[in-house]
């Protein structure tokens, strides 16, 4: 079986086992799993778009694709109310401190999606320019990368669902980092 299918299979149901008792049953589970399950189904993205990928992101937010179906309920205009930042577009040197600051202002737990070629590597056009950061992961840690220029709305939906699977499995950058002692 494909790894992705395996992950999807393990995360399909509510985490835990049903412990049967007379007259019903008790669900036995771990708090971590339940918290991850709950968090993964309510991820509010930050309104953040620096170039053309933002148009695709808006398309995903609107009725035709509608990422609310998967728990990306409303895009928040304030980093303090957002859970996930979708880096939709080129990050230039002047924008890099702003991006870092937005990320720092987001409350934990927070997740990052790098959308499109510019956010992954600087982009197909400007990657070798004096002004462009060659990949947003030089500035903040990225959980999911979506290739494309710009990616299709379906690709962004795929990435959003991949992020949910990652959270449920406890493999996001923040979750991994949280297990280690902080400096």
């Amino acid at each position: 079986m494909d790894v992705r299918e395996q992950i999807r299979e393990t995360n399909k149901d509510f985490p835990g086992q049903i412990h049967p008792v007379p007259g019903g049953g008790i669900v036995v589970s771990k708090f971590d799993d339940i918290i991850n399950w709950a968090r993964s189904n309510s991820l509010w993205p930050l309104t953040f778009a620096t170039s053309c990928c933002g148009i695709e992101m808006m398309s995903v937010a609107s009725s035709k694709y509608d990422f609310s179906r998967f728990g990306f309920e409303v895009a928040r205009a304030s980093p303090r109310q957002a859970d996930v930042i979708i880096i939709a577009g080129t990050i230039v040197n002047k924008m890099a401190p702003v991006l870092k600051r937005l990320y720092d202002q987001m409350p934990d737990p927070k997740y990052v999606i790098a959308m499109g070629a510019c956010a992954i590597s600087g982009g197909p056009f400007f990657y070798n320019t004096y002004s462009v950061v060659k990949g947003a992961d030089h500035v903040i840690p990225v959980d999911v990368y979506i290739p494309g220029c710009p990616p299709r709305p379906e690709a962004l939906l795929h990435a959003l669902i991949a992020l949910q699977e990652k959270i449920k499995s406890g493999f996001t950058r923040e979750q991994i980092r949280g297990e280690k002692p902080q400096p």
């Binding site: 002047k94 070798n128 002004s131």
Partner: protein, 174 residues
């Protein structure tokens, strides 16, 4: 004014006033272009601004061009002026030494020169004397060079599909 303003009239008025200082007069694509010494840029612009029949009250564009091969006049600063009444545009060029890129600011005449001169400074390093706030506008403040000057290669030298020669920066393929 009853007569319609034409390129010939502008040329005649400029030569009457400034004589031999106005050089390189040409009309590419119907747009009157000329060169003046860099010390005279403000005087000429003031003349074009104040004279009621010339009336160039709008500064469309300020930009610079780097000609690395012209020794002593490597940097050109180009002003595009617009007469809104007669709908005529002209182009004024001044040339300066790249080691001494000091040019008088046009901010006292045209408010729009403020950010356009900052941009020109940002990318070409033209030092506009008297500008109220001459600092970088688009690039990061920490940048320590002027990226549009042609000594800085446009592309990675390992790339063969985009030759620097196509962008006037000497062939990168060696």
């Amino acid at each position: 004014m009853s007569t319609v303003l034409t390129n010939q009239i502008i040329q005649k008025r400029l030569v009457e006033k400034f004589g031999d200082a106005v050089t390189n007069m040409e009309e590419p694509y119907g747009m009157f272009s000329f060169e003046v010494p860099k010390d005279l840029n403000l005087k000429v612009m003031e003349f074009l601004y104040d004279e009621p029949d010339l009336n160039f009250r709008f500064l469309t564009d300020v930009c610079a061009v780097h000609y690395p091969d012209q020794k002593g006049r490597e940097l050109a600063v180009v002003y595009h002026l617009h007469n809104m009444v007669d709908n005529i545009r002209i182009r004024m060029k001044i040339f300066t030494d790249i080691n001494e890129p000091d040019v008088f600011t046009a901010t006292s005449l045209y408010q729009s020169a403020n950010w356009q001169e900052r941009e020109t400074y940002d990318f070409y390093g033209v030092n506009f004397l008297g500008h109220p706030n001459l600092k970088r506008i688009l690039n990061v403040d920490e940048m320590d060079y002027f990226p549009m000057r042609k000594e800085y290669p446009l592309e990675d030298r390992a790339r063969l599909d985009k030759d620097d020669e196509m962008f006037g920066r000497g062939g990168s393929v060696v």
